[in-house]
């Protein structure tokens, strides 16, 4: 099952938000879920990652040693986490910011031009939403519709303009992966 997910990128890309949305959506689908961020001193531009497990069964350990799926938003994160993905697992990566190919041949790769699509939608900041839409559509970890509903909970109180951009970015990501 593709249920151990690591999100990684640089601080400011909304990496932790990606993880929270996956966990929130998982919970809304009555699944078992845990979210664990890298924590402590962090800065915009530094590295950020978090682990999410979404499962039909009780989650024993919240730790993710060997992710089934990695969602990679920048180059250094691909270098760091490409080697640890489970054999047969999935690498989704942001080709807008990463200009190399995945070297491993025992994993499945989905290329997502997340920043370009986000720019087309009208908000570079929504690149993380494009990535989420793609993984939800491709792997069905959670439904795209549930992710969109989760936005209302996790980003409660944010302006409607931003919310619409995020929704649109998710849908575009999903369309890309369909």
């Amino acid at each position: 099952m593709n249920n151990k997910i690591r999100c990684a990128g640089f601080g400011g890309q909304g990496i932790v938000l990606m993880g929270k949305l996956l966990a929130q959506a998982g919970m809304m689908e009555d699944k078992h879920t845990t979210f664990f961020p890298q924590y402590g001193a962090a800065m915009r531009g530094g590295t950020a990652n978090c682990n999410v497990i979404v499962s039909d069964d009780d989650v024993a350990s919240p730790m993710v040693e060997t992710p089934d799926v990695i969602l990679i938003m920048n180059g250094p994160s691909l270098d760091k986490f490409e080697p640890v993905v489970k054999s047969g697992g999935w690498i989704f990566y942001n080709t807008s910011l990463i200009d190399r190919e995945v070297e491993r041949d025992d994993v499945q790769v989905v290329k997502v031009p997340a920043n370009e699509i986000a720019d087309e939608v009208g908000s570079t900041r929504s690149a993380n939403m494009v990535m989420l839409g793609a993984v939800a559509e491709k792997l069905g970890v959670v439904k795209v519709d549930t992710l969109i509903k989760a936005l209302d909970v996790t980003l409660h109180g944010k302006g409607e303009k931003l919310m619409n951009l995020n929704r649109e970015a998710m849908k575009r990501g999903a369309a890309l992966a369909a």
């Binding site: 929270k20 966990a23 929130q24 919970m27 809304m28 009555d30 078992h32 879920t33 845990t34 979210f35 664990f36 961020p37 924590y39 402590g40 001193a41 024993a60 350990s61 919240p62 730790m63 040693e65 909970v153």
Partner: protein
């Protein structure tokens, strides 16, 4: 399951404390428990209760003493280095029989250490930490729901026995998010009244002698024996633990908190590989489940303690089992977290070993 909310462990403790009627929170920031202090700074004010970010940990714990002395439901929280600073006050509160609930979200030590998850304050939590002949009730939850639930119990047990109680968590439990049911707090109807001992308005109340100093000959010994009676009662009534897959087990993993989560996953993996392994999870670290582990050692020869410290809880397991079994150690330290496959490998090594050999992972 639709009434669940997704919450961080630190925040779940905070919300539970608010629900449990915590009237005063005093704290000083430290990673990895900052979200708890931040949460209280918002919620306690919303509820019209007392929140103070003190100038130091020592100030915070002495504010706890004052608030508890006048009968307030009182709380503080920190991580290892801060709890060390608070030990003097905790010892004084234990001596003066003041109820208080506190939280240690453990990080790597010794010294300022690091901010990574750890369980290396086990000795500090269970051996008093401060000076003198006293005990602290220690709960060790292993998921976000339990952090919430045991916060309720922490306040109630503190009031029931007039004793400081605590939750020993770690950076992972504090930082992780999990779905949580925000159950309603119901105060037990049999909690004793604080009226006979709490300080009140001096214009209407007779003076009450509240102290932890007893200088007269034999006075302190008599006082400590009274405390001991309370400790005996707690040992008889408040032990909590969880047993999993022990019926046919040939080896038992003993683990608490986050380590128990990883150990459980390892146990399930090992079972798939045909290893008859079960798990015993102490939920109270003091009182430790001594009789239960002792009984297990009558029929099981090998125990493996899994802890994020280099052999602290193992001492309690040895004491509980009285030399009847071999007690092995899987210890990680200073941010190292046990890995499922490493535990499974060690289980195999232990079952292949003979005689008195003790196997440890480092």
């Amino acid at each position: 399951m639709s009434d669940r909310v997704l919450m961080k462990g630190n925040e779940a403790i905070g919300e539970a404390a608010v629900q449990a009627g915590c009237q005063c929170y005093f704290g000083y920031p430290i990673t990895p428990q900052n979200e708890l202090t931040a949460y209280m700074s918002k919620r306690m004010i919303e509820e019209g209760r007392v929140f103070i970010q003190s100038e130091s940990e020592i100030a915070a714990i002495n504010m706890c003493f004052g608030a508890a002395a006048v009968g307030m439901r009182t709380m503080t929280s920190s991580s290892g280095p801060g709890i060390s600073l608070k030990q003097e006050g905790i010892s004084y509160m234990a001596g003066a029989e003041l109820p208080m609930f506190f939280v240690n979200v453990m990080r790597g030590g010794p010294g300022l250490g690091n901010i990574a998850p750890s369980q290396a304050d086990y000795f500090q939590c269970t051996r008093g930490g401060g000076h003198g002949d006293y005990r602290t009730v220690v709960y060790a939850p292993s998921d976000v729901q339990e952090l919430y639930d045991y916060t309720f119990l922490g306040f109630d047990t503190a009031d029931r026995y007039r004793i400081p109680t605590m939750i020993a968590a770690d950076g992972i439990l504090g930082q992780m998010m999990e779905p949580l049911v925000l159950t309603e707090y119901k105060q037990p109807t049999d909690l004793p009244s604080k009226q006979p001992w709490q300080l009140g308005d001096p214009s209407t109340q007779e003076p009450i002698w509240m102290t932890s100093v007893h200088l007269g000959e034999g006075k302190l010994e008599a006082h400590n024996l009274k405390l001991q009676k309370k400790h005996d009662l707690i040992e008889a009534n408040e032990v909590r633990y969880e047993e999993t897959m022990l019926d046919d087990a040939e080896i038992v993993i003993v683990a608490y908190g986050t380590s128990a989560r990883v150990a459980k996953a390892a146990m399930l993996k090992a079972r798939e590989a045909g290893i008859k392994v079960g798990m015993f999870r102490p939920i109270t670290l003091w009182p430790f489940p001594n009789p239960q582990l002792n009984a297990l050692a009558d029929r099981i020869d090998n125990f493996l303690t899994v802890e994020m410290s280099l052999g602290q809880m193992i001492e309690d397991v040895r004491l509980a089992t009285c030399g009847k079994a071999r007690i092995h150690l899987h210890g990680r330290t200073a941010g190292g977290v046990p890995v499922e496959d490493d535990i499974v490998d060690q289980l195999k090594k232990i079952l292949a070993s003979k005689g008195d050999e003790i196997i440890r992972n480092f």
